[in-house]
């Protein structure tokens, strides 16, 4: 009689374990393990009203310009002539439909941003996107 009552008092752990496993799977799936190919030192300027950067075309070339004016793609520095060769090849390969995203540091001078814009326009890529910070981590 007493044994049966003790068995009935046991907490059913199955739903809790289910929930915990769901949470772990969620965190594992959302965790970004691969290192980003962007320079984390670049401080973007703020733009609260710009359209959100999402569903980026896989063909997009992200060009970074550091505060000191160094042009980088995937953390690798490029001189304007090297960039011209690369962008020219990309433009020809994808029939001049290559979206260009410029991640310029907020304190970079326009003359350095201009080098990238001139190279892109020179190879026939007129449309350029500037990346900016819409919402910081602390604001979420």
């Amino acid at each position: 009689m007493g044994k049966r009552r003790a068995e009935n008092m046991e907490v059913n752990m199955t739903p809790m374990i289910d929930v915990v496993f769901q949470l772990i799977i969620f965190f594992i799936v959302t965790l970004k393990l691969e290192e980003d190919l962007i320079d984390k030192k670049i401080e973007l300027a703020r733009s609260r009203n710009g359209p959100t950067l999402e569903n980026l075309d896989p063909k997009t070339v992200t060009i970074e310009v550091t505060r000191r004016g160094v042009i980088k793609i995937a953390k690798r520095p490029f001189s304007p002539p090297q960039l011209e060769v690369l962008m020219g090849a990309a433009a020809r390969r994808f029939n001049y439909q290559v979206p260009v995203l410029v991640r310029g540091d907020q304190f970079a001078q326009h003359k350095d941003i201009r080098k990238v814009m001139d190279v892109c326009a020179g190879v026939g890529l007129w449309r350029i996107k500037f990346a900016a910070l819409k919402k910081d981590v602390t604001e979420q």
Partner: protein
Amino acid sequence: MARKRKREQIEAQLEMTPMIDVVFQLLVFFVLTIKPEPIFAQLDVSRPAPDPDAQKEDPPDDMINITVFKGNRIVLANTVVSFETLESKLAQLAQYSTTQTVLIKCMGDSEHRTLISVLDICAKVQLKNLSVFSLGATTGSRGG
């Protein structure tokens, strides 16, 4: 005999406590290490050809002309304006048409964040046709 069977059943039960401990450890680890990604904005502009001959032509009169100088100085139609004034003026102009072209001329020594601020204001008032020119002989001829 019946009592013996009952004891075997109890002994066959799975011990859940260590597994729950490990699972909680993992959960706490992921909760502490996860970092939300910032949200980025994209500001679309067009860049006219860097051909000096094409730039000699004066832009049409109905274009909105904005010039960006060093030190967050902005000139709208030959008048130095603050960001607030620029926003109100552009909002007024955008009431007529949001498809009119905005010509943003940037000096070579101006900071990139000033250009982004101007583009942000244009995005706020829904002006979409934005062209960015560069001024100042820093790297060859005038670009844009």
